[in-house]
Subunit: 209 residues, 2 copies
DNA sequence: GCCCTTACGCTACGAGTCGTAGCGAAACCA
DNA sequence: TGGTTTCGCTACGACTCGTAGCGTAAGGGC
């Protein structure tokens, strides 16, 4: 969310918040039309109606800009109480799949993750802006299921953190792999099957059809 | 595996197979040292000891070259019979994690997947060279578990295909997300927890510790 | 309302990469 | 040996990058 290169003091002309929003929207628009590799900062600046130098004053480069532009997409995720753990999981996974079906998320997300393998600062930025922000969904669904008696209460906070991380990697990883690597839609049928495996396990899922 | 741009006839001077191997090895070497974004074909050609034009005669571009270079890494995956489904899963997941821990796989794989979101031909290439090639592991582990009586035999071939695809996305997706997005190691402890969830499901896994 | 500070738009620049074309020489098959 | 293709080399125009320098605009502190 923050613009990486901070304004230095509280005095002087403040940065235009409207420009910030226009730039991020223009970045997503360019991601849709051009994809990651053909996206240039000049093009984004032109679409946003600002000068190229304005971009460089706020973001260190293409990587950081796209992370911020993509991160906003995932803030739309919600976890309404649908009555059961299975229904909650299916609901949020379908939302996640819908976001990953959008071209600006598809081309942007994987690209910055790829770049982050050689850039520790970028990795931290992704973690803070995207990953950790959405772990709240796992935490909330989990405590809700515990309140319903669907999951046992865990006492050890360290074990809890490990479990939450694990669930997050399984859920997010499966959806991402399905939509981006296997390149097939995570539709309702697939989500039902996935939720079944997640809750019941391999043996329990294929058994009683 | 094939070089995308085929030699036209059986006559004339054949292409050097040694050059092919040298180029792919040089590509992996460059991926380690430079990463995806700073990798240039001139650099690869220089490392491999061939001319830049030779690269362009065999591969359409950087994307196709890196797919072939990375695909070879995953052919090392094996599925030895370790006596139980859980042990088999743990074994192959640890191998997969070890490959994804190598920098040439980390930076290369995600980058080409990102590019493939806007390039259908590249997507097909990845699917053929990497994804479908490794689905054999799921098929083999599954039939082995069925022979042991750990999994029920499925009769409908269409349902079987769906299940295999689902399992593959869950396993591969979870490991990829853990190592590349969460950027934490998929070590033995994590793999044990993951296998537990995969086989027993969420409720069964956190219950009997 | 004035001055100080900063953001902004614009232009220009050197450096680097891209993919292609054209050439002579070398290697292989029939 | 003749025909065919690959290979190494060089050069090329087009493009993108990130930065610097300038004059101007827009705020905040007093």
């Amino acid at each position: 969310m923050q613009s990486r290169i901070p304004a230095r003091r509280a005095t002087g002309r403040p940065r235009s918040a409207a420009a910030d929003a226009a730039i991020l929207a223009a970045t997503r628009e360019a991601l849709v039309e051009l994809g990651w590799s053909k996206l240039t900062l000049v093009d984004v600046a032109c679409r946003a109606g600002v000068a190229k130098t304005t971009l460089y004053r706020r973001w260190a480069g293409k990587n950081e800009l796209v992370v911020d532009a993509v991160a906003e997409l995932f803030d739309a995720l919600r976890l309404p109480d649908r009555g059961s753990l299975a229904a909650d999981v299916e609901g949020v996974v379908l939302q996640f799949a819908a976001i990953l079906a959008r071209p600006e998320a598809r081309s942007g997300l994987m690209a910055v993750v790829a770049e982050s393998t050689r850039d520790e600062a970028l990795r931290d930025r992704i973690r803070a802006s995207i990953v950790d922000r959405q772990k709240r969904l796992v935490l909330e669904g989990r405590s809700r299921a515990q309140a319903r008696g669907e999951l046992p209460a865990e006492t050890d906070p360290e074990a809890t953190a490990r479990t939450v991380d694990l669930i997050f990697d399984v859920v997010a990883g499966a959806v991402v792999h399905r939509t981006l690597v296997s390149a097939e839609p995570a539709d309702e049928e697939w989500v039902r099957g996935f939720t079944r495996v997640l809750l019941l396990g391999l043996a329990g899922a294929v058994g009683p059809a």
